[in-house]
Amino acid sequence: MSAPLEEKVEQRTRPTLEELKERKARNRQRVSDNAEVMTISMGPHHPSTHGVFRMDLDLDGEVIVDVRPEVGNLHRGMEKLAESKTYHQIIPLTDRLHYVVSFSQNEGYCEAVEKLMGIEVPERAKYIRSMCHEMCRIANHIIWLGFLVMDLGAITFQQITFREREYIMDLWEMLTGARLTHSFARIGGVAKDIPDGFREKMAAALEVIPKRMAEYDRLIRNNRIFLARGKDVGIFTSEDCAAWRVTGPTLRAAGCPRDLRKDEPFAAYDQLDFNVCVEYEADVIARYVLRMNEIYESIKIIKQCLDEMPDGPVIAEDAFHVIPPKKDVLRSSAAMIQDFVQVFRGPQVPKGEVYKAVETSQGELAFYIVSDGSPKPQRLRITTPCFYHCQAMQPLLQGEMLADIVGIFCGVDVCLGSCDR
C-alpha cells in the first residue's frame, strides 16, 4: 500500500491557530463602506450549487460583501414522515438523505435505534458495517474530488472520477442489490451476508483505485492553476469550525483530529487499526489532500475488515426488535411468527430518548429519537453535517471572490438532500 501523499504531509510545517487567523485576514478582502454593492441570487437553478441551494450574494465587483444562505428548497418533511412509520420502515427513508453515502445514513439510524432498544449486534455485522462505511467514504471522496475540480473548470475530471466510483457502485449492487439507495442496514445488523465472489471483486477494485489516484495526482496535484485556485482560499480555522459546528474533513483539515470513528467508536471501529488523517492549512488544498489520504486509510480499513471478519450471523437473534432473516422465516415457524409480529405490530420499544452520532464522509451525522413506547417514534430528529456546512456559508465566503464560491462550497462537501431533509 503506497501512500505518496502522506510523506509530504509530515515534512510540512504546521501553522498555528494565530498564523492561520493572520493568513485568513490577509487573504480575505476588506470591503470599504462605500462599496457599490450589487445583489445577485445564486441558485436554486445554478449549475454549481449542488442541488437547489440558494444564496443571495452582495457583490462589490468580484468580491463578496455578504452572503445570505437560504435552505429548504428540497425539503421533504422527512422527520415528520418518520413519525408515521414503524422503526423498520424508516430505513429506506434515511437512504434519501444523502444519496451518495446511503449506507452511512442507514447505519447511523440503526445505531441510534439499537442504542434505544439495547440490541447487541453480532460481530460479523459490525465488520460488514465498517466495511460499508469505508466504501461510502471512498465513493464520496472520489466524486467529491471530481466535482471540486469540475467546479473549478476541468470537466474531464468529473467524468473520470465517476468512472472510478463505478467500481464501488458495482460492489454495492453485488452486496445490497441497489446502486444508490441501498437500504442495507437493519435494526440489529445488516440485511444480507457478503455474497460469493465479493472478496475477489473488492480486492480487484482496491487494486485499481490507488493506481487511478496516482493518475489524479499527475493530473491535478501540481497543476499551477489548481494550486492557485485552492491555496489559502476559504481558510476556516478550527475555531471557526467549532463556532459554526462544521465537522468532518473540513474540521480535520483545520488541524483538529476529531473523528467519531476514534472518539466514540461505532460499528467495529474500536477493533480496527487506522489513523485519523489531519491537515493543518485549513484551505481548499488541505481539504483535498486530507480526503485523498482518507481514501488510502479507507482502503486499509476495508482490507482489515475482510481479513478479520469473524463467522456468524449478520443479524441479531432478538425476537422483540428484529425482523428475522428470510431463510429462517421459510424454515422455522418461530421465525415466521416473529416476522408477522414485527411487521404487523412493530418492534417493542422502551420509553425514552436517545442520541447517537456517527462519522459519515461529510461529518457527524446524528439521530435523536424520542420514544413513547409505541412501535413508531414519537419524534425523530436528524442532525446532518451538510446543514451546518450550508449555514456556515456566510463566514466561509465573506471577503472571498466570486469565482471562489464554487470551490469553497464544494470544498466543504454539501449535499442538499441531506441539508434540507
Binding site: K85, H88, Q89, I90, I91, P92, L93, D95, T156, I160, R163, E166, D170, E173, M174, L175, T176, G177, A178, T181, S183, A191, K192, P195, E215, R218, L219, I220, N222, N223, R224, I225, I323, K326, V329, L330, M336, D339, F340, Q342, V343, F344
Partner: protein
C-alpha cells in the same frame, strides 16, 4: 524556488503531465456500455420490479394473501384484495403495485413468508403512459421470467 522548479514552471511541466493523462485516456478503451444495443446484466441481488412466483409443479401462486408485504411497504404502494373461498382458504383476488410510488427497498421480498413476491432483474421500466406503472397481478406473474435464477429454484 530552485532552478528545477523554474524550468518546470517555464516549460509548463505539470500541465503537460496532466495533458498526458487525458491524452492517454483519449486513446485507451472506453468504459461506456451502449445501453439499448448492449445491456448490463444485474447482479443476483439486484432489486428491479417485483414479480409473483408460482409453484413450478402445480402452477398455483405461492401467495397466501397474508398482507405482510402490504403492511411493511414504506411507501404503501402495494394493494392486496383477498377473499375467502368456501372451503376456508384465503385466495388472492387482486395484487396491485403502484410502481410510481415504489422505492425498490426490497422489504416486500424480505418479509414474505412464502417466497411469493420477489424482486427481479427487470430494470427496463420506462414508459410513456402513467397507467403502465400500475402493475396488475397478471403483469407481476408474467414478470416472473425476469426473476433471478437462485430465487426461482427456492
Amino acid at each position: 524556488m530552485g532552478l528545477i522548479d523554474i524550468i518546470k514552471k517555464a516549460t509548463f511541466f505539470e500541465i503537460l503531465q496532466g495533458m498526458s493523462v487525458t491524452g492517454k485516456y483519449a486513446a485507451s478503451k472506453k468504459f461506456t456500455i451502449e445501453y439499448p444495443k448492449e445491456k448490463s446484466i444485474p447482479y443476483p441481488r439486484f432489486r428491479g420490479s417485483q414479480a409473483l412466483l408460482a409453484d413450478p409443479v402445480t402452477g398455483e401462486l405461492n401467495c397466501d394473501a397474508c398482507h405482510l408485504c402490504e403492511t411493511i411497504c414504506p411507501s404503501q404502494c402495494i394493494t392486496i384484495e383477498s377473499s375467502e373461498t368456501p372451503d376456508g382458504k384465503k385466495s388472492l383476488d387482486e395484487f396491485t403495485i403502484d410502481l410510481s410510488r415504489c422505492v425498490f427497498c426490497g422489504f416486500c421480498e424480505e418479509v414474505c413468508p412464502r417466497a411469493a413476491i420477489v424482486m427481479t432483474a427487470n430494470y427496463e421500466l420506462a414508459s410513456y403512459d402513467k397507467r403502465d406503472f400500475i402493475l396488475t397481478k397478471e403483469w407481476l406473474i408474467a414478470n416472473a421470467v425476469h426473476a433471478h435464477k437462485e430465487l426461482k429454484g427456492r
